[in-house]
Symmetry: C2
Subunit: 393 residues, 2 copies
């Protein structure tokens, strides 16, 4: 079998990092990664946060599938990764059966090489982007005709929120109702071009300020929080409806309010877990106070905070308010890394809570400036060379 | 009118500090301090935490009522203090009408002198003890036949949770249903003698670690938290039932679990407020991790954390587990003030989260060791001299 040397390794796409308004938490079926509530997220720009993945198949590869992430071999024997490989292989095998001229890629070992351009340890949910990129790259290698929504069902089994990362712009993950999870999938609410002026300033909390780690996870929240069912059944559906409309209407006031309230609600149910889960720390809370101060100065909502499963603050704002939001933060955090990537006009720290400003000065290691981003793109740049080996950089 | 010189100033009682399991939060009627849910608290020992209040009435006093707290004049013109004065005077006036031989104390200016033996700024809810002592002291001065439960209705109008501080032991505040608040009052679940072995270790967080203050209060929680109604209607009634039974059964396992879960639930609804309220900080969370570690080592619940409207941790335990709980904390916090008041046997820090231990070392200013305490007592020691002036100390 020499065909693998005749065709170049198949290129994976560049993958975008996503950050959620409404977060994925609680699994009604842990094996299938079925969520207890729907959620909406913003795909961030690939210029700033990117997972790049290349997939290749060849009979010359060792017989076991492999995955290299940022040059480190990863375990692919876990049930989640295996589920993705199995589902994608089954789709490829069906294609091969219907067209015998196709190479039998489904029977060959896979080699996946992946690189993030953002710090994995920064708590930026790299597994969502990672699994989405892995699924998209293999689907491209296999030349599957599957739509992003079809693929989202597969990516979901690797990492729940990965299903959303197959789209750019504003993306909803519909929780679905079926037991087999076939209706738990992602759809695009609106492309980035619909509302391109959304910006994000991420405050990455320094490692030494990360605080005390949590001893339990989402399954514990579902089984022990008295408040969680109310959030899942009442709060989130209302937020989904308001947020969808806010995005379609480009209504930043509602977008901001729902983003902040949903973040508060999510972290509340984590803290109501037994034992409690705390993702936010004192630095996160200081970021909230500063956002409140920025909004108070503006007399309206020009900034919105949200927190995922970690202390980093993501602050959304509209481009026209860059000075009032990012500029104000830069006025006291200008010394940390990350500002040089964008031209941020000077703002003022006047009127902001001095104590909160000091806590941020002491606890933020770097910032990331980014914005709503486009769909995943296919790139000609391969991380696997013609010889089938990872490209040395 | 010379009678005031003929009778000594009337002595107020010593008052106990209380700390709650189920906390008072949200007012269905802010004027009457009617709560949105019932609550249970433990009255702590007067040997360790005490408010001492003396009330006197005399025609020789300046015409305006006055209150001296820890030697500082306090404003008594607020509606809450005035409501207490008015209700107590009305009860006294009724007595005077029925027995014309009684001096007309209801028509005389009041002088109240009060002292706490615990740091007011430590966030130990001194206003609850303060209003309870004020009401009890005036009721004693007026020789009112009112029961503690009767007086709890009045104290509640001064500071909601003050109604519980009129009892020792384990106390419930029944929220009541009537619009006029007449059925919102405190009753004793059990006296301290029923379960005298409950101990409390309070970790007082240092001022510089207090974190970022909150910008809103309980009324905002009621009106903005989506999770709060669920807590008030579903979670707290269940906790009240479990806790009452746990106290009657002296069942520390349930006592501890409900105490911790209710604290988690309460602070969750605070964090779900818009804007969010954070009372706990990273030091508080480290205390939780250490309590979890102590319980894990014991293989059962021997310690329970709870937090009021501030970052200080209150850790309950039974006397027989003093070494395992207080001793373990002393093993790494022995250098701060407060241990010398009690003989705490050495425990071990082995197996506790090292990061959490370090956060506590950096952030706890002092400890208070105490236990469940008795009813308020009347004392012969007066804070007002025979001349009607505050006693100089």
């Amino acid at each position: 079998m020499l065909w693998s040397s005749k065709i170049p390794p198949h290129h994976g796409p560049l993958y975008t990092k996503q950050l959620t308004f409404h977060r994925y938490w609680g699994k009604r079926d842990p094996k299938l990664n079925l969520p207890t509530n729907s959620s909406i997220s913003v795909t961030l720009s690939q210029s700033d946060l990117r997972t790049h993945t290349t997939a290749a198949a060849s009979s010359t590869f060792p017989s076991a599938d492999s995955l290299l992430l940022n040059s480190s071999p990863q375990d692919v024997t876990g049930a989640r990764t295996q589920a993705c490989f199995r589902e994608l292989r089954a789709l490829r095998a069906a294609l091969e059966e219907s067209d015998s001229s196709l190479p039998k890629l489904s029977q060959l070992p896979l080699r996946i090489v992946s690189e993030n351009n953002f710090p994995t340890a920064a708590g930026l949910a790299s597994s969502a982007a990672g699994f989405a990129a892995l699924v998209r790259a293999i689907a491209n290698l296999y030349e599957l005709p599957s739509s992003p929504t079809d693929l989202s069902r597969i990516a979901r089994q690797g990492s729940g929120s990965a299903c959303r990362s197959l789209f750019g712009g504003y993306v909803a993950w519909q929780m679905g109702e079926k037991e087999d999870g076939s209706d738990s999938l992602a759809v695009q609410v609106a492309p980035a071009s619909h509302w391109p002026t959304i910006r994000a300033l991420i405050l990455v909390v320094s490692a030494e300020k990360k605080g005390v780690s949590s001893t339990s996870g989402m399954q514990i929240t579902v089984s022990t929080s008295s408040l969680f069912p109310h959030r899942a059944k009442v709060v989130v559906p209302k937020h989904m409806e308001l947020m969808t409309k806010a995005i379609l209407d480009k209504d930043f006031q509602t977008f901001a309010e729902v983003t902040m309230k949903d973040s508060n609600s999510f972290h509340s149910t984590c803290a109501d877990t037994y034992p409690p889960i705390f993702y936010m720390n004192d630095v996160s809370k200081a970021a909230i106070r500063v956002v409140e101060g920025i909004n108070a100065k503006a007399g309206k909502l020009v900034a919105a905070y949200t927190f995922d499963a970690g202390p980093n603050a993501v602050i959304y704002y509209e481009e026209e308010n860059t000075a009032a939001v990012a500029g104000a933060v830069k006025s006291f955090l200008g010394g940390v890394d990350g500002w040089q990537s964008k031209d941020i006009p000077a703002g003022s720290p006047d009127g902001l809570d001095e104590r909160a400003v000091q806590v941020l000065r002491d606890g933020v290691a770097r910032v990331i400036l980014t914005q709503v981003g486009d769909d995943p793109v296919r790139t000609q740049e391969s991380l696997i060379g013609e010889d089938g080996e990872p490209v040395k950089k």
